[in-house]
Symmetry: C5
Subunit: 270 residues, 5 copies
């Protein structure tokens, strides 16, 4: 079946909101507002994101009521990074079929290439891609190089290899972390070929820096961004979203985006 990406990709660009931190990092990323998944779903809805990324449990209990308006992306694996599970693998928790039943327009899966358990990871990822494509939905690979022989996960060559692995295995989109090397990252994007690259923030940073980084990201050839804490931890999530959206969708310059953010933030704070 033909894989349909139109739900999460508009005119070749995509802006996704990630909210799977509760499993990976634990509640330490949340406060009394952001701990409620409804908070993130509302940002995704009103901020007109092309999709929200959550684990199956969150989808099952909170997606109802948003499903016509916010495309759902279910992350199929995950682990308690912060509790210190030590194996470099994140096994599938939710089947593709269950994700479809929950309303997913796409599914995600973390691949640790270079892991001592790489054979098992690749094998599971291959099956997921096959199944998802049978249902006609795209697969997003979280491509994270990790293992005893990987010195620097943010090295351009290492990221380029990770991107290539995503293409070779058959992912439709890749989520990669940005290493702040614009020229290097153009090569990374090239190595992904027809697989679209989405670039993610590392951690929460100051908003002007964040918008400047976003501008640079969009110059690498990437198809878009996956944002998370820089938005839902922000005190004016709609203002920062508006600025990013203009950059991603309308190629607004970073200076105009900064101005837009300032205006919107002032209104939102009132």
């Amino acid at each position: 079946m033909r894989v349909s990406t139109t739900r999460i990709l508009k005119n070749g660009r995509s802006m996704l909101l990630s909210y799977d931190h509760g499993l990976e990092h634990g509640p330490k990323d949340f406060d009394v507002n952001t701990v409620d998944p409804k908070y993130a779903f509302d940002i995704a809805l009103e901020g007109m994101y092309d999709g929200i990324i959550v684990q199956a449990g969150i989808a099952e209990k909170y997606y109802h009521g948003y499903y016509k308006d916010v495309p759902l992306i279910i992350k199929l694996n995950g682990k308690t990074e912060s509790l210190g599970s030590t194996l470099v693998i994140s096994k599938q928790i939710c089947s593709v079929e269950r994700a479809i039943k929950l309303g997913a327009s796409a599914v995600g899966y973390t691949v640790y290439d270079g892991s001592p358990l790489e054979p098992e990871i690749f094998s599971e990822f291959g099956k997921i891609i096959d199944q998802a494509h049978e249902y006609g939905i795209p697969v997003i690979g979280w491509m994270y190089p990790r293992g005893p022989n990987i010195k620097n996960e943010m090295d351009t060559d290492t990221l380029a290899y990770a991107a290539r692995v995503g293409l070779e295995l058959g992912a439709d989109f890749l989520k990669l972390k940005y290493n702040n090397n614009l020229e290097g990252f153009k090569w990374v994007v090239k190595c992904a070929g027809r697989t679209k690259v989405l670039i993610a923030e590392h951690s929460k940073i100051e908003e002007h820096a964040f918008l400047r980084m976003s501008d640079e990201i969009l110059k690498t050839g990437a198809a878009g961004m996956v944002v998370g804490r820089n938005v839902w931890q922000h005190d004016t999530p709609f203002a920062i979203t508006a600025a990013i959206r203009k950059m991603v969708r309308d190629n607004m310059s970073v200076d105009d985006a900064l101005k837009l953010y300032e205006e919107q933030a002032n209104k939102e704070k009132k």
Copy 2:
């Protein structure tokens, strides 16, 4: 299929009787009366519990005759904690389908988040949730953080993380141990979102202390309690049950509940 929780949850509150100690702890928890599963089933029946939690073998041989009146919750995994099996995993023993055949209104499963075997545990738990929800019955996660990097299982942040994992993976109820920190535990309950929290005793304690702890537990926002040894090891199990039931169902004050317990206990002893 819509998951039906009405069998084990009444007006948003639940009071469950746990009787799976024979596998986890061995017969050392029992005396000549309590070793007989009928003893526990009779308490569940006459004490009007919202469910009794047992392993499949007990259900198959003793549930007959109670099934209209006591909702059955089958624990799907378990291990001989006291015999010292060393792997931090408790694999599935009973399938969801077998539990359904035995009359289960809900199923339970222990999740050791932070275990070196976490990937296998999460994967098995994900499948159980998917299957149980296909049958329309809820899943209760015993969320126990355990592993080499977990210093204190009763730390509020650790319990909050465990609660969040339960929500993210898709459990409908969580069984958590109470750490005697009321304010902290409110945050734990919040992290579980729309997943209901049931709080369990640690071990047998003096009854006044137990009722005061129960009162505090219900102030955390939890949906109810899972009791075990504090009831079926008690010499007046119906008196202690009556007091708890009034607190859980009718929000009786702890002082009134203590009085009720004393009255009932005097009658029951005769």
Copy 3:
């Protein structure tokens, strides 16, 4: 489906002949007569045993011709104890379905509770019970505590735990070794609840001692005995069988049973 125990249990009592030593111990248990499975089948037939316990291979090649008259119990797992296989697990060799096809009225499985591989053992045993009960045949658990934290496998508390595990997991019968502690073993039997306890000899002993031990065993509350080398290694297997049968079936006193044995042995030797 209702589990039918009537083939191997008569009036609440059972006397089974075990002949799986060829796999567990090797041919060193045999002589030129006893090495032939026909020898054991003939004892089971003429001695009116409630069942003979063998591995699938023996059943397939020798059960033909006895199947109307001797109930068949197939042991589903096994290992070369004497060749020194080191893992504390005995994996399933024969499926429940194959056992049924071979004519089994019950199936048996060894459970090493406390083993480092306990999770895998419990998981396999749970599936066997589910399948056997679907076919309506009972499951006998060989409950053997074994593992790094088990100091004494014959300790009453350890045996009581093993018996309880058998009940909790869903076995219909348990095979346990007798520890020569009558009062202690009554507790062991109690811990098994509605699961019937069958008690086995350890090794070949002198016949008077064996009959006295059998008498004691029947006073523990056990439903019967599993005999092996004390019968088929005996030079008058029918005499010793007759005495045990009278004790198990008709509650004959040990003194009368001893007399019966002497009379029959004299005839059989001629």
Copy 4:
């Protein structure tokens, strides 16, 4: 379904040609003629063997053209003994169903009893026997004791144990190595009960010694022989075959067989 052994057993005797050395030992066993599987198939055909033993790949590419005349026995597992794979297990490579499709009249499988991986081996072998018997074809067990606690694989007691394991698990034929102990091996054969024993050479030896050993082998009670290098590495394979065949089929004396060999060898060399 009844297992049919008539294709590979004639009047209770069998003479099989083994040609799976390419996988187990590598090409070092071959010369420019014997490396060609056709060479072995032609010996099997013209030498009127009761079957040829090969791996699935050889069967698929060479059996066409012989299938009416030479019964095919597919070895279902194998490993590069000489390349030094270290785990004491040889996993199934070819399914029973594939073997049937390729025309097999029987299947073979190597069992290392006493291996640290014995549980996995027994489990796989049990499934193979079940499947093969469903199709009505016999299973030959290569019974090789091997493991840390086995001092001497050729010890009579060890071989007797291996033979018994084959019977208990349900093999129809066993392939065992001869330990040059005629009286001891009679016990080995007895331990196999109704499972037929086929005895194999160790390695290539001088032809007179080989025929005298064959004569002794047939006196152990074995049903026949599995020959390999002593035939297809021989410069007069048909002469040596003729002598063995007369011994196996017609109980020819070793002296007559030696004479027959000499006559035929002289003709064949011309």
Copy 5:
């Protein structure tokens, strides 16, 4: 079903283009042109190769538009050799069925004979061959001896063993590396029997040396060549292809092939 090799074998000869380096080696093998899979597909098309070898992901995103003209060979396993995954195994990523859906005329799989994980590799390879042959498509085995007991992977005896393993397991074609020993390699090819041998380059070398090596390769009895970096990293890929094609298809002498290459290269550079 009969296995059809006609798509990738013409008159007994085959010339394949390999482009799976992105997964095995990473993008370091590529430049800004060769990183684009279209570059390799165009060479395969215009160079009239008998097939192009890629991973499933590349096939799914790039094969459309070439499928009538370039036979597709999907490599079913792979690993990040350069990222240093340490287990000597490359597990299946793409199922045979998925490969068929993607348009594959053949499938490939790397076998590390002698690996400590050889049992798992052989087992997986056996299933692949069975499935592929059910669909009627051939299997190419990348036969690479690797493991603790293999001193020299390029030793003639070791390569001969690897070739034999390919035949015994049932591969239709083998990809082997050439060890520059013409007489030795004739034996290697002989050991593969009716399984066709395709020989691969090691690494990029000077073109005259490459063509002389190709000439020698075709004298070993091999059915053809698998080329990769020596072609698509070459600045005149069509010239070098033309020369090889004439040698493989028309047995052109190496001297004529060298001349042809020079002429074509001059034209192509213009």
